[in-house]
Amino acid sequence: METSNFYNEILTEHNIRPYHKHDMPDATFSLNGVNPSCGDDITLKLKVVDDVIEDASFIGDGCAISQASADIMADMVIGRSKEEALRLAEMFIRMIKGSVTNEEIDELEEAGALKDISHMPARVKCAVLGWHTLQEIFEKNEDANT
């Protein structure tokens, strides 16, 4: 586990200069996700039109991993359909559990920068917080939205 490699530029950049950390007045979904034991706390906001994520943002605070991971996620899901976003979420969570192929890591783009979390059980929750919240938004609203 090489931490200095781990806190790489992708991660630190998304942490200190997040693109998508802001409010979204016209969001169609908003959900709070927390890791109570860590104190990580984000509110994910999505603007979904016809099952396509037109915009994504988050507010909140927490460790660099939770914040950067949420920011990277927002970046990735904007413009994607609900199904594609959920497929990425599933893939990301699998990566964190240590069972993805190299092709899949490539597909995860910048989120692949978090793959070493699979060796850091204590940080798993931080990395997946954003993605879990995304999944929850769509699960909770499945009925309403179909």
């Binding site: 950049e13 860590c38 660099a64 940080r123 931080c126």
Partner: protein, 408 residues
């Protein structure tokens, strides 16, 4: 006392001796010296039997070991009677025992339980529970931003309604020693009893339960170099005698019928089930080790290390130490925050240099809320730490903001 920083006790601790670990999470748990590990081993090699039960020689040896440990603890905390020393699995069980056996039975509607704002969760939740069940009111005794509980605060908080004051002798976040004797005096004037959490203090302060005049006291073995799974409850005999048992089962009875039971005398009334004799033996070895090194020497050394580290941290920009401005009020515990870097990231980056520190709310969320942060990083020292440990820690700490992408 003059302390030579170059003398190292690291050699007594196999985990430290055989690695380059910089262990600064001593407030969470301590490392164990060879003599403690060997004492446990020897028990299983030579004395292992179910204590308090048998008439054969091996069982008597096991019993003797258990009772010798009780005597050792009695002397260590200066209790008046052996039977005031009860073996539990740790501080948490000890305090739950007091809350369930004393709190639930001697408190009622309108009575007040006073705890300090800096308590560990295990000295908060049991009292929240007692309050919710008995109708008693849970109140908080506050400190200032330096962690000081003032005489005025004590005088105002303790009233004739107060029935229990439960307070830590040393905060696991602030490291500051609380004025226990002062609190006991006021509490007793108002007819309240005092429960002292000694989990953190026991390794730093020479505890004298009679001089402090506390009614109950609890600590865990694992924080004073003894094995896990053993802890102590001290209680004044007259209080313990009037309390019902907490856990119920073997060993704590005189006789049992289908419908009823007569309970055993102290201390056994509170020691249901097979005692952790090997844990007790380890605890005895740890206390003997402490006595051989010298409590005062250990503490002086810890204070010296604390000061070195404190002074060095003060020189790093963007780092804020929590609590007292004088390192002598930190007793081996330095908690801090770094601007814009989350403690979990701090801890992980330090871990890269083999530095072990703890990050989070340290089981003291009400204190964190009160002081205005969600979590912090804590470095905690014992006498076996070295100047080198501190150098490595400070070096790694200094580079964190940069590593996280900040200009300074």
């Amino acid at each position: 006392m003059s302390i030579n920083v170059n003398i190292s006790h690291r050699e007594d601790f196999p985990l430290l001796r055989d690695s380059n670990i910089v262990y600064l999470d001593n407030a969470a748990t301590s490392q164990k010296p060879d003599c403690v590990i060997e004492a446990v081993e020897e028990f299983y090699h030579k004395h292992n039997a179910n204590p308090l039960r048998g008439f054969y020689e091996l069982a008597m040896l096991a019993t003797e070991q258990l009772e010798n440990s009780r005597t050792t603890v009695k002397e260590f905390i200066n209790a008046k009677f052996e039977e005031e020393v009860i073996f539990t699995k740790g501080t948490t069980e000890s305090i739950n025992l007091i809350a369930n056996s004393y709190g639930m039975n001697f408190l009622g509607e309108g009575d007040e339980i006073l705890i300090s704002i800096m308590e560990h969760h295990c000295n908060i939740l049991p009292w929240q529970f007692v309050a919710s069940k008995t109708g008693a009111v849970l109140k908080y005794l506050e400190c200032d931003m330096d962690g000081l509980i003032s005489d005025t605060a004590i005088e105002e908080a303790i009233t004739d309604k107060t029935k229990i004051v439960a307070i830590t002798q040393l905060s696991n976040v602030l490291g500051r020693e609380n004025p226990i004797a002062r609190i006991t005096k006021t509490a007793h004037e108002h007819g309240a009893i005092v429960v002292m959490d000694a989990a953190q203090s026991v390794v730093h302060v020479k505890i004298d339960v009679q001089a402090l005049d506390v009614d109950f006291m609890a600590f865990s073995g694992h924080k004073i170099m003894s094995p896990m799974g053993i802890g102590i409850l001290y209680g004044k005999k007259e209080l313990l005698n009037k309390m019902p048992p907490f856990l119920r089962g073997g060993e704590m009875i005189e006789s049992v019928t289908r419908t009823d039971a007569v309970f055993a005398q102290l201390p056994y009334k509170f020691e249901a089930g097979t005692d952790n004799a090997s844990g007790a033996v380890g605890l005895m070895a740890a206390i003997n080790y402490i006595n051989s090194i010298g409590m005062e020497y250990m503490h002086e050394r810890t204070l010296m290390l604390t000061k070195m580290c404190f002074d060095a941290i003060c020189k790093i920009p963007h780092i804020h130490i929590i609590g007292a401005k004088d390192s002598n009020n930190h007793n081996g515990i330095i908690s801090f925050t770094i601007d814009n870097v989350h403690p979990h990231d701090v801890s992980q980056i330090l871990s890269e240099s083999n530095v072990c520190v703890r990050a989070g709310h340290h089981c003291a969320q009400p204190l964190c809320d009160f002081l205005g942060f969600k979590s912090c990083t804590r470095a905690s020292f014992m006498f076996y730490n070295t100047q080198e440990d501190i150098d490595t820690f400070i070096k790694s700490l200094s580079g964190i903001r940069k590593m996280m992408g900040y200009g300074d």
